[in-house]
Structure formats: C-alpha cells, structure tokens
Symmetry: C2
Subunit: 122 residues, 2 copies
DNA sequence: ACCTTATATAACTATATAGTCATACAGTTG
DNA sequence: CAACTGTATGACTATATAGTTATATAAGGT
C-alpha cells in the first residue's frame, strides 16, 4: 500500500517526505492501545500515581489475568512503565501526553453529543 | 464491570461522578476509529479539504469497496461528514480536533523512539 | 431505453484480540 | 523447605473487523 500526495497538476504521486507508512502504523498502534474501555479504566486508575496489580484489579473489577494482559499491552505501547518491588509490580504512566489525548477526545465526544442533541431539538 | 475510585480511607468505592462507563465506551470508540492505518491515510488525504471517493481510492491504493467501508466507519464515528453531488460523494473532516490528536500522538511516538535510541546509545 | 460511471453493500475469509480458566513462576513468610 | 501471595502466561473461546469479490443502486450521458 503506497501513500500518495497530490501535486499542482492534480495527479497523485508517491509522497516524498511526510507520513511514511511506518509512522502511520505507529500512530495507529498508539490509538489502538487506547481503544478499549478496560485500558482506559487502568489509565484513569493510574492518574493519581503508580499502583500495583492487585489494586488495579480491584479498581477495574475484571480478572487478574486480564488486567495483567492489558497492562502488558499498555506497557509495550510505551504508555506505561513498571517497577518491581518484592512480590508487587507497580505500574505507572510513562507517557503523560496520554491524558491530553483523552481530554481532547472527551471534548470531541461532548461536542458531538451536543450537536446530536441540537439536531433532535433537545 | 464497575468503575471505582479510592477514598481517603484507601478503599475503592463506586465512583459517584466522573468517567461513567458510557463515557469510557465513547472515548474508546473514538480511539478505535483512529486505530487503523488506512483510516489515518484517509484523514491525511482529507487534510487539504473535501475529496470524493475515487480520489481517496487513488490516494490510499486499496479497493473502492474497502474505502467506502472505512469512510463509513469514520463518518459514523462523527469524524467525517459527507455531501452528495450528482454521481459523487464528497467526504470532509467534521471534527477538526482529530488533527490535534494525531499531532499529539506523533509527538509521543517520536519521544518514545528518541528514548529507545538513547537507551541503545545511539 | 441503454450504457457508463461513482458509490454502496452483501457475503465471505482471514486475522486479531478481549476475556476466562488453569497453571507456572517468583518472592515472602513461617 | 513448605506454604502462601502476587503476578505472568499458555491454551482456549468468542467476537469483531479489515480486506476481497461480486453485485446492487443511482445518477448522467448518448
């Protein structure tokens, strides 16, 4: 699959500089890591600082196995970091920009709901 | 699945106000819409203004059927809008905040690559 | 009316992954 | 070391969905 850009002539040609397919894949992967409610719940739980797995399990209400797997996903995506201490593993947010992202999306979602409500005369 | 928050006592309790599960679902859905390279390519193509389906097919290099489907996904997510004119359907970005999101993520991705390179002494 | 072009959609395949259960592994305590 | 606790992981199921092929629909041109 080849990304192309339009020239002045109006024809599409291979894009020489921006948005290499690799970059798109990375950006898509980052969004994908944020595309599950359970993982967003984990990020919400970690907003106040690091937590161990047991605390996160209690917070989210799903199984420990599942939480460990979702924490792995977020860690491999570079969003979380971890620190081991004895029996415990503490997870923390390594990429604070995540919260800016979430707030932007919250704004978009609210705008959209507002638009829909207006459209229904509410 | 129940979202809970910590109190001063240190115990998790049902969260009375923020981050209703519905909201999390909506935010997750928005991220999910952005989690595919093909859809990001479409957004890149639409940055300069509206385009019809044929142009977008040429730009992305995948099948027309697939493009129509991905455009539908983005439209239903509230990210794109559409306008029909004769034989053509023009798609355009309805939620400009999308580009802020993408730039934030690009920054995060670059930071992360930089960190990795440093870790490898590069 | 017929042909062509632009777009949408149905049916299908292949793949990815969230969640579960059971189990392994690693550190801690007695 | 034996028993326990906290975390990770393998195997599995169920579901979602990207992409394909073929076809339908709809608007224009002749």
């Amino acid at each position: 699959m080849q990304t192309k850009f339009e020239t002045i002539s109006g024809k599409f040609v291979p894009n020489p500089e921006a948005l290499a397919d690799d970059a798109l894949e990375l950006v898509a992967a980052r969004f994908k890591a944020l595309s599950e409610p359970t993982r967003l719940r984990l990020l919400a739980a970690l907003k106040g600082g690091e937590r161990n797995v047991t605390e996160l399990v209690e917070f989210t209400g799903t199984s420990q196995a599942n939480i460990s797997r979702q924490l792995l996903v977020l860690t491999q995506a570079g969003i979380l970091g971890r620190r081991k201490s004895g029996l415990h593993t503490f997870y923390f947010v390594a990429d604070k920009a995540i919260y800016d992202l979430c707030e932007l999306v919250c704004g978009s979602v609210q705008d959209r709901l507002a638009r829909q409500n207006r459209a229904f005369g509410k």
